[in-house]
């Protein structure tokens, strides 16, 4: 059986999915990137290989996420696509009638508007965290609550405390002040969920026409507190799809399937790529005042790719 591998390496999580030819998800995986994308990708490959039925043969690979170029070199990808497009592709495949996608990941949050399955508009946070997963993570660990329980706690609150949502640093101090005053923890968590949603809708969602069906995806969609806050603020039902946490990877797999159907072959290096010794390094090019930070990727002590320079002097250098 043919399978298509999708890998989404983000700031917080690395997600791997294998899609069958019929568009079914044969295996999926969500692990933490922990700031080490190379290790996360290799670990992801090892784990997903173990989960796959023996007769599945990888016929195509797509990568996405902020480490998409790095990952593409490691695994030999057929497509490399930005995560906005990948998320939209996945949502319009799994929830074909979706008109609005709310996507909150580790370090970015975006809104994608679809009409008849085509992206017509999107927005993404730029200089503001706009209530992303990393912040929720931090707060959960500060409060000593496993992140998985964070949302359920919010639902237990009968009231919510108002928290400033614009800046994550000030949101934190606002939360601490309210805690010190004696407010109940569940109410503070509920307040935080509402603050993040308020900031999201006001920042990335500003001026966008949010029509139902609304799909909520990305790691933060695991948080039922945020989902509830979205439903309350929008006054409409919010759908969290089954594979909400790995949608980027699903999109990457779909794009790979599409690409391979055109090219007829895959560049996949095989699961053995998880055992190769990869290493990344960087240096500052002194060739001009741009002082570009050039990244070098080594496989078994040999440079296999370089990027990061504006002029192409290193990128185009035969390696």
């Amino acid at each position: 059986m043919k399978g298509f591998l999708g890998i989404d390496v983000g700031s917080v999580s690395t997600n791997v999915v294998v899609l069958t030819e019929n568009g079914e998800i044969a295996a999926h995986l969500y692990i933490r990137t922990r700031g080490q994308p190379i290790r996360a990708v290799q670990e992801g490959l090892r784990q997903i290989e173990a989960m796959l039925p023996a007769d599945v043969e990888i016929a195509g690979v797509g990568t996405t996420g902020s480490a998409r170029n790095l990952t593409a070199v490691l695994v030999g990808a057929d497509t490399v696509k930005n995560e906005i497009t990948a998320h939209a592709v996945a949502a319009s495949f799994l929830v074909p009638e979706a008109k609005t996608i709310l996507e909150i990941g580790g370090q970015d949050s975006k809104i994608i508007l679809l009409r008849d399955g085509v992206v017509i508009d999107f927005a993404m946070n730029t200089v503001c965290a706009a209530g992303t997963g990393s912040f929720l993570d931090q707060q959960a660990s500060r409060l000593n609550i496993p992140i998985e329980e964070f949302g359920d706690l919010a639902l237990q609150a009968s009231n919510s405390v108002r928290i400033a949502g614009r800046c994550s640093v000030f949101a934190e101090s606002d939360m601490i002040h309210k805690q010190q005053l004696g407010h109940n923890l569940t109410e503070i968590i509920a307040g935080l969920c509402e603050a993040l949603v308020r900031n999201y809708l006001n920042n990335v969602g500003k001026g966008k026409e949010i029509l139902a069906p609304v799909v909520f995806q990305g790691g933060v969609a695991a948080n039922v507190g945020i989902k509830e806050a979205f439903q309350k603020a929008l006054g409409m039902e919010v759908i969290v799809p089954k594979y909400f946490s790995v949608m980027g990877a699903v999109g990457a797999a779909l794009l790979a399937k599409d690409q391979v159907s055109k090219s007829g072959r895959t560049n996949f290096k095989g699961f053995a790529a998880s055992d190769l010794a990869y290493k990344a390094g960087s240096f500052e090019c002194k060739g001009c005042p741009n002082l570009c930070e050039v990244i070098e990727i080594y496989q078994d002590n040999q440079v296999i790719a370089r990027w990061g320079d504006r002029c192409g002097k290193w990128e185009n250098l035969a390696v």
Partner: protein, 362 residues
């Protein structure tokens, strides 16, 4: 006198020429870099916008090279850039630098002030007004040529067969233009540059998307501030155009008469001057939509009020005229990956939209 000025795009070539023609030594500040940004951020108010900080850094770098006088422009209307010159001067004084600053305002609004300031530059070398006019006209011509050649690269780059070739040739053209001194030399070099650009191997079978670039003037003009946006989009296969050029190249070479028509186009949405290029951002978007552009990218320094106001209005323009607009706020970040991701997604969106429109047309 050792004179410096703000570095913006390619304009330093013309400014340097003018200053040297007037018998002064031109101190061209280094092209803005991460060092400029660090220096500027360190010595600027935290709430000032990115252009203020980069200019501050550039002034300090020019002072390191011995600059005694900084020439810059002021501004009118409700944008704080009008006060930047004054504030920069005060900050430099506080740091103990003797460097002076000449802030030029519009000659039409404050003619006396303008003439007094020009005279201060001419007096040391006893340059007469007539002679000045000649130098000024030649420098202006140089600026126009720079703009024209630059604009041509944005039409060609999406077709280039060898990635980076347009940029390489453009950089060569810049040295040629820089070296041209007399008027006829300039015209020759202009011709030569356009011929060189026409010689680039192109693949005309491509069907590039067209994106209009709008926003605050400094971040639109200076590639360091906007992650080299126009070149990046060009290499992604997109034709870009902007109306903001220092010498008003677009005014003479495009179908509309700059300011007046922009205000006219913006009128259904915005009648007030909101400072900076706010009204242009609205009016230009209307024009780009009418001219069949596929999308618009708005560049704005973080906290820029004119562009924030324009952004709010652009939602409506975008809906009315079915032209997608993406805003990129620029601040201290130098990691290009974030902008790259957004641009790729935006280009995907535009390509999909065009495909669907074409399908519907069939």
């Amino acid at each position: 006198m050792k004179i410096t000025f703000p570095y913006m795009g390619t304009s330093h070539i013309a400014f340097k020429y003018l200053i040297e023609s007037l018998g002064h030594q031109a101190i061209v500040p280094p092209k803005p870099s991460k060092r400029t940004l660090s220096l500027g951020t360190q010595h600027s108010p935290e709430f000032a916008c990115l252009p203020f900080k980069l200019l501050m850094g550039n002034y300090l770098e020019a002072i390191e090279q011995g600059a005694e006088l900084i020439i810059t422009s002021g501004g009118i209307g409700p944008c704080r850039a009008g006060y930047y010159g004054v504030l920069h001067q005060k900050l430099l004084e506080d740091m103990g630098y003797p460097t002076r600053m000449l802030v030029f305002e519009s000659p039409f609004r404050y003619p006396l002030d303008f003439f007094k300031k020009v005279k201060a530059v001419l007096a040391p070398n006893k340059i007469g007004w007539l002679e000045f006019l000649g130098h000024y006209k030649r420098a202006w011509r140089k600026l126009q040529i720079l703009d024209e050649v630059e604009a041509a690269t944005y039409d060609l780059r999406p077709f280039e067969v060898h990635k980076g070739e347009t940029t390489k040739i453009f950089n060569h053209c810049l040295t040629l233009i820089d070296d041209a001194a007399a008027r006829d030399e300039m015209e020759q070099v202009r011709e030569e540059s356009l011929v060189l650009l026409r010689g680039i191997a192109l693949d005309r079978s491509r069907k590039p998307l067209k994106i209009g670039i709008i926003g605050e003037i400094y971040v639109v003009l200076e590639p360091f501030a906007n992650f080299d946006l126009q070149v990046t989009l060009g290499e992604m296969g997109v034709i870009t155009q902007r109306t903001i050029y220092l010498a008003g190249w677009a005014k003479e070479n495009s179908s509309w008469d700059g300011e007046k028509e922009v205000k006219e186009a913006a009128k259904p949405y915005l009648k007030e001057m909101i400072g900076g290029h706010g009204i242009n951002s609205v009016g230009d978007t209307v024009h780009y939509a009418r001219r069949g552009f596929h999308g618009v990218v708005q560049l704005a320094p973080f906290t820029c009020i004119p562009e924030i106001v324009a952004k709010g209005i652009l939602n409506k323009v975008s809906q009315d005229m079915a032209i997608p607009v993406m805003t990129v706020f620029l601040d201290e970040q130098t990691g290009k990956a974030g902008v790259q991701t957004r641009l790729e997604a935006f280009v995907d969106l535009l390509a999909q939209k065009r495909e669907r429109m074409e399908e519907m047309a069939i």
